[in-house]
């Protein structure tokens, strides 16, 4: 560390001291709930920014269906990485020879996986900011879609799926089955104005206009053959500094709604909550009515029913103070209760995960923090433990209070011991002399004490991994629910697509209900704990597709009858 860096660090220490615990206070190494196993895992990763503060993310997916979840990490200006999970906490690079090396030509940012063509293998969608090779004057590039061949190989399907001409500065990618047809659709967040195709002529005007806000892409999957941008068709009009979106069924009506994160919401377009009007091809903007028109620097979101009222709550990360948006019941606006819950702590936050790490049946909250390159002050991550509904800040004791420049974070059971482990992307500091190593870190969860249950969904009519579907448990008089992550959660990332529950001292689950995207329900009773349950979708009619038609038919008939009556009366009257 040279002198000026040291000076700079000491200067910043004032803020750090007051707000974050001083860096000297290194978390206990002994029996910390989480143990940093990065070194022994074989994962060596650091995200390198293109410019500014963007990136990166992680996708958890089982590339070879061997029951061990693998990870793909975007790296910006560094090479992306694909790690095959070997079990027992060991990972092996599987990038070379995979066909994913094409990403080296691009500055990658976000990533998510879904079985786009329903061949049983999870495919990957990687967002890009621009090219690394011969970057254009205005940073833009196509995003990349790779079809998983199941043998460790991926084939670039960007062109074949109609995505080649979408020249964008894209951030988050998320999958959700918008029209409940079983083919995963996608939303891509764009930060700056996007173009149709490469720019052939660039003038001062093109350059000056290029930093304007952008529309997102709503990519409808047409039978697993190609994607079509249906942003306008679905009534979307927003243009913001997009950090992507999260598909989530906030109103419990069985279809994925869309929570859109916008940076600089106080200056440009605020964040949005868009209600899916399925079976209509429409999203309705309910941001103002629900309180989600957040005028903040929305970076990412975590989802979980923290107050157990049967509606999901959302932690939206931000610069300075995060928003803990708590549901207040059906039709009522959400309320930010970060302060009341004891989660209003100053930082610059990106990734977040809301899961039951310690298996006591209550959701913890992890938040990944990191300063804005190139001027970086160390700031530690947050870990809020949930002690039967009371949030306690255990950042220091958790073993998670790393001071690297944190971004995306994901949870998955890397060692298949039933609890959720944590992987957090860190950025390289642009300016030299950052006082601690800032590398991507893998934390093994040693905190879990109670029983657990993992649920893997297998959709036959719904999306093949049950993306967007919901698992509801009744256990000891409590009701817990999870939604299968389609990506765009945390920051630019995708968690495990297995539903995970901590169950305390329960020995069995009274009932397990799966609500598939589209609204169809399936019930399992008396499920034993401490196991992975696979639930295959039972064949049957999709109730949502029928009921609106029945209602519409009744409505038309009723209306026709009214008109008929009026006409009859009128004709009778005319005789008088």
């Amino acid at each position: 560390m040279n002198l000026s860096t040291l000076q700079r660090f000491l200067l910043f220490a004032g803020l750090v001291l007051k707000v974050f615990v001083s860096i000297a206070q290194i978390p206990p190494a002994g029996n910390a709930p989480f143990v940093d196993v990065t070194d022994s895992s074989g994962i060596q990763h650091q995200f390198k920014v293109y410019e500014g503060m963007f990136g990166g993310g992680i996708c958890v997916f089982d590339m070879d269906n061997d029951g061990l979840e693998d990870v793909y990490l975007t790296s910006g200006m560094n090479d992306d990485q694909l790690y095959r999970n070997l079990g027992n906490g060991k990972f092996q690079l599987a990038f070379e020879g995979s066909g994913l090396e094409l990403t080296r030509k691009y500055v990658t940012l976000g990533v998510a996986g879904a079985d786009v063509n329903r061949d049983g293998w999870v495919d990957l969608f990687v967002t890009t900011l621009t090219s690394r090779v011969n970057p254009p004057d205005i940073p833009r590039a196509r995003n990349l879609l790779f079809l998983n061949q199941g043998n460790g190989k991926f084939v670039d399907a960007t062109e074949a799926y109609g995505l080649a001409d979408l020249y964008s500065f894209s951030t988050g990618i998320s999958f959700g089955d918008v029209n409940a047809d079983g083919w995963p659709d996608a939303y891509v967040g764009n930060y700056f104005l996007a173009y149709e195709g490469e720019l052939t002529y660039i003038s001062d005007a093109t350059i000056a206009g290029s930093n304007q806000t952008a529309k997102g892409y709503l990519l409808i999957n047409e039978g697993g053959q190609r994607f079509r941008d249906a942003f306008q068709e679905y009534g979307l009009q927003h243009r913001g500094f997009g950090f992507g979106a999260l598909f989530t069924d906030y109103d419990n009506d069985g279809d994925p709604d869309l929570l859109v994160n916008h940076d600089f919401g106080y200056k440009a377009f605020p964040s949005l909550l868009l209600e899916n009007r399925f079976p209509r091809k429409r999203f309705r903007d309910v941001s103002v009515a629900t309180g989600f028109d957040l005028k903040i620097n929305a970076m990412g979101a975590a989802i979980g029913d923290l107050n157990e009222d049967g509606y999901f709550d959302y932690l939206v990360t931000n610069i300075k103070f995060n928003r803990m948006m708590m549901s207040q019941g059906k039709g009522k606006p959400y309320v930010n209760q970060a302060k009341e819950l004891g989660m209003k702590t100053l930082a610059i936050s990106w990734g977040a995960n809301m899961v039951d790490f310690d298996h006591d049946g209550y959701l913890e909250v992890f938040v990944s923090n990191g300063d804005l390159n190139p001027y970086c002050t160390p700031m530690g991550n947050f870990y809020f433990e949930n002690d039967k509904g009371k949030i306690v800040d255990r950042s220091v004791e958790s073993g998670l209070k790393d001071y690297g420049i944190g971004r995306g974070s994901v949870v998955f059971d890397m060692d298949n011991d039933g609890d959720l482990d944590l992987l957090v992307v860190n950025q390289e500091s642009v300016r030299p002399g950052y006082p601690v190593p800032s590398i991507t870190r893998l934390y093994r969860n040693d905190a879990a004490k109670g029983a657990w249950l993992k649920v893997r969904l297998k959709g036959s009519e719904a999306e093949s991994h049950g993306m967007g579907s919901r698992v509801i448990l009744s256990v000891n008089g409590r009701r817990m629910m999870r939604e299968i992550d389609g990506g765009g959660s945390s920051h630019l990332s995708q968690n495990s697509t297995l539903a995970h529950f901590g169950l305390g001292n329960a020995t069995a689950v009274d009932s397990l209900i799966v609500v598939w995207t589209g609204g169809k329900k399936q019930v399992l009773v008396n499920v034993q704990v401490n196991q992975l349950v696979e639930v295959g979708e039972a064949k049957g009619d999709n109730p949502v597709s029928i009921w609106p038609m029945v209602v519409a038919a009744l409505f038309v008939a009723g209306f026709g009858w009214l008109i008929w009556r009026r006409r009859k009366r009128a004709s009778v009257g005319s005789i008088d």
Binding site: M53, A205, N211, K320, F321, K344, I348
Partner: protein, 450 residues
Amino acid sequence: MKRFVLLALVLVSVGGCKPPVTYTDKEVAAVWGDMALHVSKATPSNSPTYAARAFGYIGLTMYESVVHGFPEYQSLEDALNGVDSFPVPETGKTYHWPLCLSAGQAAIIKYLYPQAQESTVRQVDSLEREVNDFFLEKLQDTALVRRSVAYGQAVAGAIFAWSQTDGGHRGYLRNFDKTYVPPVHPGGWQPALYSQSFSHDPLHPHWGSNRTFLAANAAIPKPDFIPRDTTPGSPYYEQFRLVYEKGNTLTEEEKQMAVWWGDDPGETFTPGGHSYYLATLALRKTQPEMIRWAETFARVGLSISDAFVVCWKWKYHFFTERPNTFIPKYIDVEWESFWPDPPFPAFPSGHAIQSAAAATVLTDLFGEPFSFTDYAHVGRPPDGLRNVTFKARNFTSFWQAAEETANSRFYGGIHLPHDNAVGQSLGVQIGQHVNALPWRKPSSSVSIAP
């Protein structure tokens, strides 16, 4: 009067689809003043620095394109920094000065705003065509029209050529210099967390070394800053405490002022544009002859352009922190400014320096008291985040408006009283230097008293 302002704005906004039946000479100056404002607002990636510079050259071009038509006035070519000479009219030939003005304005605006959107360029072109068509019809002299247009364009060309060496040419391509390494010292500026900009590099770090229009403005001595002392009760600490307390007790009217004078370059004609706009109000109210319109725009343009250069010189010399950096650290961790931070150091205030410079020249031209109503942001949708509406503001002097401009940054929580006070004092000096330029010929017949 108000109706006329609105009518003019409507005409500009529709790009002259409905030409007025007639143009008086001074109306030509008026519509081009409005057009300069419109372009500065409509062009993406504009900045307060670049926009002020553009107003400087646009105002000067208006003056130089007509000055030879008014015998008591003279060109500023000998008084400005580094000018060789500006084109002069051909002797013995007649010129139609409003046409010279119009052609010069269209040319200089397009030269300085090549980054403007196509639709904006079309609006400039159609206004120019409309003025030309009107006078061609009226004068019925193609040669005169051609000669006048050519002369206006030649003046604009010469001024643009000179502008290219001042350090700010195409500055919109370098808003944020990634290679700039900021100084590190206690109390130094930090990138904002509640920011107006997505860049975390400071805006135009080298703008302070740009050539000023007046050499005298570059020679203004270094101002004093308060020594940093974080001890409660110290003069430095007290400055921040005042901001903190004001932020906690803002009245409705103070909030309105903070939002009114925000003049965000992404949504409005920038802070310097607000001063140029006040000039249009004063001119519309007093309706002087055309040369006075040109002189007014030139004086305001030169003063705000130099104000931003001088301001940026000291901003990057002192490189001081904003209240959003100091207050959470030393006073209240949860405090946040009412208005987001701009992406550059605090001392001295750009709003204060440019508004004081403009008020100094406008007061010299139009006197004191001078009442006017500022409609700059009337009609904008309310600021939802801060729950503030845009209501017209009344003033009895230019200085009152300048005071309010400076104070508005204090109310917004982004400037110290000291940033404002020093900004104003620098601005007054800059304005006085502009006033002292040899605008009028030293005519013996006028100056010798009987």
